[in-house]
């Protein structure tokens, strides 16, 4: 009765369950400016969707959710288009580079090992740093302040010395064009290796390395994710035939609604509160992955294609 058959996934799912999963991930996406692929793909695999179809259909769903989220944040004046486009150009370069890199790694063997370790280390590092930093800020900014300028100076001097400085009005910062381009490339490489949209790395990069205000970070990140996922969806549909549109549509209905509420909640929270919740989430995923690596799996074989 409440089931719908998914032609590409080749299985049927409970409509209500998929809708709720979409709403939850959409909410997170709207609040934090992340695509949510890191959460959605494992959830879909739990209800019997093959890993490749789960990942590809999820990127189709993210297109919808991030359109909705970008629009909501744009109305609040939270999208820095100039920065977003520069990051995007870098991201596409990095993504192409990353895909080639992973081919080489696969050829050398043990690529999966490297991917999973990168994942855990990156998430752990980013999560802990964000958590501690925002905790200090929440406790009364003074404790963290004396440390910062001291640490910053070298990095700040380097940033200032780069050519092609440009003013980013929306973010209220002045930077060399090279910064977002290079950092975009860096995140693009990592995202391609890890097989995710990269929102989880992009947000901390924008906050800590580009020094953008948190609210603009969320809107700009969503804008950038939108284009990354359009690219991924079309490529997956064309080469691997793994996009299940029916599944994506079900998720979409939930996630676009969730993203709208998320954007509103995001507006109500302070930047440091946002950071600490996001940091907790990152750490949670990191621990979950770590346990997955440490515990003996119940089945010692998997179909090829998952990431």
């Amino acid at each position: 009765m409440w089931h719908l058959y998914l032609p590409i996934a080749g299985n049927s799912v409970n409509i209500f369950l998929i809708f709720m999963m979409g709403a939850l991930v959409g909410l997170l996406s709207g609040i934090f400016g992340v695509g949510g692929g890191f959460l959605m793909t494992p959830l879909l695999m739990m209800v019997g969707i093959p890993p490749t179809v789960a990942a590809a259909s999820d990127s189709n769903q993210i297109v919808g959710a991030s359109t909705s989220g970008t629009l909501a944040h744009y109305r609040m004046g939270n999208v820095d288009f100039k920065m977003g486009i520069l990051l995007l150009i870098g991201g596409i370069l990095g993504g192409t580079l990353g895909v080639q890199l992973i081919k080489v790694l696969r050829h050398m063997g043990n690529a999966d090992f490297l991917i999973q370790i990168t994942y855990v280390v990156m998430l752990g590092f980013v999560g802990f740093y964000m958590f501690i930093e925002s905790l200090q800020a929440l406790r009364g900014g003074k404790t963290s302040k004396p440390v910062k300028p001291h640490k910053e100076s070298g990095y700040a001097r380097l940033v200032k010395s780069l050519p092609w400085q440009m003013r980013f009005e929306k973010s209220g910062i002045e930077l060399s064009i090279l910064m977002p381009l290079l950092l975009g490339t860096f995140v693009g490489v990592l995202a391609a290796i890890m097989g995710v949209g990269g929102g989880f790395i992009m947000v901390p990069v924008m906050v800590y390395l580009l020094r953008m205000p948190m609210h603009v970070v969320v809107g700009t990140s969503l804008f950038q994710i939108l284009f990354t996922c359009i690219n991924v969806t079309i490529m997956q549909a064309n080469t691997n035939h793994t996009v299940d549109f029916v599944l994506a549509l079900l998720l979409l209905i939930g996630s676009t609604l969730g993203a709208q509420f998320g954007a509103k909640i995001s507006r109500r929270l302070k930047g440091d509160q946002l950071k600490i919740i996001l940091a907790s989430l990152v750490l949670l995923v990191m621990f979950q992955m770590l346990f997955g690596l440490l515990l003996k799996p119940s089945i010692l074989l998997t179909y090829i294609g998952g990431h």
Partner: protein, 257 residues
């Protein structure tokens, strides 16, 4: 060369004719299969196929549904650095069916409750071809069975067959074969066995066809034949849906922000 192959073909045809003659001579166990074509529409969530027929009063009926043989490329999970479980070696498994379901009778009034091993999983074990670095190929195959069982594509279902009152030397049977929601498309064999004392007395093989119809068939066609158009459409609809919800939310709040 042509002559030789023609000769072979005639011999083979003769053998096939003879074989079919033998099978026709044996009693046909199956009266009807409903439906003979399983359709997968948008509301499909697994289905049941009913098999009715007659069997010797002192025998039991066992049925198996077998899909076409396929090749599978898999990854084996192993321990790296002694503690971390991750995908390590590649495993290639061939000559195993994509679906293998066994159906046994209701315990009441039947002597045979276990599937004879040579008709069950053992038949897959004997036919399977496994290529892997791991020397424990048997263990790998068992792991593969677990994967298939999890999706409901391999398994044994008892109490799927009921008998009616015996009518002289025979008794009627009705089987309802549950098929999973992850059912692949294609042709499937329905092997019906009459078993006495663990040995097969007679065997009837029928076929069912599984195919997508309506919306799923249309989407599959578009996705596999015109991937680029399908991908672009999926993206456009997603953008439209996201944009539409955005508009909806804006107007409901009177545009205040």
């Amino acid at each position: 060369m042509i002559k030789k192959s023609l000769f072979m073909a005639i011999v083979l045809a003769g053998l096939a004719w003879q074989a079919s003659g033998v099978q026709a001579a044996a009693t046909d166990l199956v009266e009807a299969i409903r439906p003979e074509t399983v359709t997968i529409d948008a509301a499909f969530n697994g289905t049941q196929v009913s098999v009715t027929g007659n069997v010797a009063a002192d025998a039991d009926v066992m049925i198996r549904v077998v899909g076409k043989t396929e090749e599978y490329k898999l990854k084996q999970k192993g321990r790296a650095l002694g503690v971390l479980w991750m995908n390590m070696g590649s495993v290639h498994i061939a000559k195993v069916p994509n679906l293998f379901l066994l159906y046994g009778p209701d315990g009441a009034g039947s002597a045979q409750t276990e599937f004879p091993p040579q008709l069950g999983m053992e038949s897959i074990r004997q036919g399977a071809e496994i290529v892997a670095q791991d020397p424990d190929k048997k263990g790998l195959l068992e792991e593969f069975f677990k994967l298939k069982q999890k999706a409901g594509l391999y398994g044994t279902m008892n109490k799927a067959i009921q008998y009616g009152a015996a009518n002289g030397a025979t008794k009627p049977f009705t089987a309802s074969l549950k098929l999973p929601s992850a059912l692949p498309q294609g042709a499937f064999d329905i092997d019906v066995f009459a078993i006495r004392n663990g040995a097969v007395m007679t065997q009837t093989v029928r076929h069912i066809e599984v195919k997508e119809v309506g919306l799923p068939a249309w989407i599959s066609e578009l996705a596999f034949q015109h991937g680029a158009i399908y991908g672009t459409l999926s993206v456009l609809i997603a953008i439209f849906a996201g944009w539409f919800t955005g508009i909806l939310f804006k107007s409901s709040k009177g545009g205040a922000h």
